[in-house]
Symmetry: C2
Subunit: 331 residues, 2 copies
């Protein structure tokens, strides 16, 4: 069994999302808590900006929950940068214990999973889970210097400049985390670093089919099934893979990355990055759960676990995907 039940129903009692100006112009723009005027936040480097965005998201989330910093027992965070410096350096600003996570773009699910387990086990009262990404830090770390102005290939995705944070508590009011399906690392041999969607789709299919099987549910049982950043192509591959496994994904399926930008924003296959699913969850999805427009959501961010070193050594790209069931709850 990869799926666990959280019988004490940990609740998301606070959430916050912050995005860059380009992201603010996308379809989710009006749902985000804060749209930055430029992509710098007055910091000298993009890495420091990414770190500051995380600090703002974390602070925003516990303020949104009506809690003080002293009420939060633990911070769980991770990001895409080498040695997850955005998260580790952001953690310095908060006088609370810290667990650093790395699940690439699946990190929002991983932090919610570990955080919810701690709350469900009554180990802590309140924890905050966060992640984020920045176009300009990812671009220069994983791809090319921005100054080169490289042409983008049709399968590429645009790393979103966005950060999101959630506070999980045993008490309070908010959407409930009722089940978690922990994902396996799946690698079908994709080596094209400009085609992350294809590399990650098999892990999404693996976790999703395990989830449906173990919980005895089917796609129609959810108001929304949402993957993280498979993008246009990856989402299509996932639909095909699931159909081969006997599950038909319908209109209630979407992908945060694919939906993140409008067609005229020139992002090829859509958005990617930890911040994509984190900011959509902590704005649009949680708002819809709070107003009961969604009763049950299957939230499934995916991560591509490669590094430039691994790619240079000819390695393929493993993917991972964790699934979180969010329910609107009784009240």
């Amino acid at each position: 069994m990869q799926t666990i039940e959280l019988t004490n129903k940990p609740k998301i009692v606070g959430s916050y999302s912050i995005v860059g100006p380009k992201e603010g112009k996308g379809p989710f723009g009006k749902y985000f808590d804060y749209v930055m005027k430029n992509d710098r936040l007055d910091e000298k480097t993009y890495e420091k900006t990414e770190c500051k965005m995380l600090e703002l998201a974390i602070t925003g989330a516990f303020q949104n929950a009506g809690l003080l910093i002293s009420h939060i027992n633990l911070l769980l965070a991770g990001d895409l940068l080498n040695q997850i410096i955005s998260s580790s350096y952001a953690a310095r600003a908060f006088n609370m214990p810290f667990l650093g996570l790395f699940g690439a773009c699946s990190t929002m699910a991983e932090s919610l999973a570990v955080g919810a387990v701690l709350i469900n086990g009554k180990n802590f009262k309140n924890v905050v889970c966060a992640t984020g990404s920045h176009f300009s830090t990812a671009e220069r770390q994983f791809r090319f210097p921005l100054e080169l102005g490289n042409q983008r290939v049709p399968t590429s995705q645009w790393t979103v400049t966005a950060s999101g944070a959630s506070v999980i508590s045993l008490n309070g009011v908010g959407p409930e985390i009722t089940q978690i399906t922990f994902g396996k690392v799946i690698d079908l041999g994709i080596t094209d670093v400009n085609n992350m969607g294809a590399a990650m789709a098999p892990s999404a299919a693996d976790t999703m089919s395990a989830h449906f099987f173990e919980t005895n549910t089917k796609p129609e049982d959810y108001d929304l099934i949402v993957t993280g950043d498979l993008g246009k192509l990856g989402a299509e591959i996932l639909i095909d893979l699931m159909e081969a496994k006997g599950y038909k994904l319908g209109k209630n399926y979407s992908d945060c990355g694919h939906s993140f930008y409008t067609r005229n924003q020139d992002t090829m296959c859509g958005g990617s990055g930890c911040g994509a699913s984190a900011s959509v969850l902590n704005s649009y999805i949680i708002k819809k759960l709070k107003t009961k427009q969604y009763k049950k959501v299957l939230f499934m961010p995916t991560g591509a676990l490669m590094s430039t070193t691994a790619s240079q050594q000819g390695e393929s790209i493993p993917g991972v995907c964790h699934a979180i069931v969010l329910e609107a709850g009784g009240n």
Copy 2:
């Protein structure tokens, strides 16, 4: 409160350690399960060697526990490499869910902490926790190409080539994990990347004093208090910092890194790396707990959370340290 009690007492039912040839000649040499004949394991790159060492440690641990791969519900692992590729790529070899962690050299404690919480909460039956490091991958990622033959400064430490893994279960026989103190990220402004001990010692002091205070214990209550890889200088700084806080660390205190090599192995301040505390725990310490020579151990690996990018941007080095209480148990 940073400390939690694990009332169901998760047990370490299996463990395994694998080290390089230099490490095999150190004081712990006879305790390790496997000493490699060379530092390559027939792999083409050191990164692939580090990955293979993790695979061997993980396999060794569940075999040592008398379990099959199908009995293990989850793998928790992390390492020092960018995007923790050793762990993520090792996870491909095992058909089980995976949580990637990043706590730098504190990772063995972080993986045990999260793993023990999952077992204590009866979410899973058996999980395996692992980490490792390799001298040659760390050297070229964080410092200089080996071919340069740079002279080492007196405060430097030698990244150990070692990997360790533990299986945690609710049932079975083995040392018990009874308490965990989750550490905060502490940064007192050290910017010298050749002095990791000084950068990490304040976080060890912070977690250790929180642990003593919250559990109402004192240094004499433990048969062994062991930090991860502070090295000679860092361990001395910790002793001073603790004395200033009113705690006198005696002969029962030691540091895995400081004790890892003999004086004539030319490692300056001693060993470092995730593998240091992981391999000492999963050999020497667990064996001493099993034979009841140790009844209660405070295991406190420390991590330095910087990256080369952060250092190049003038950032100081944050540290983190988590504390795990291991008890020999009743049987």
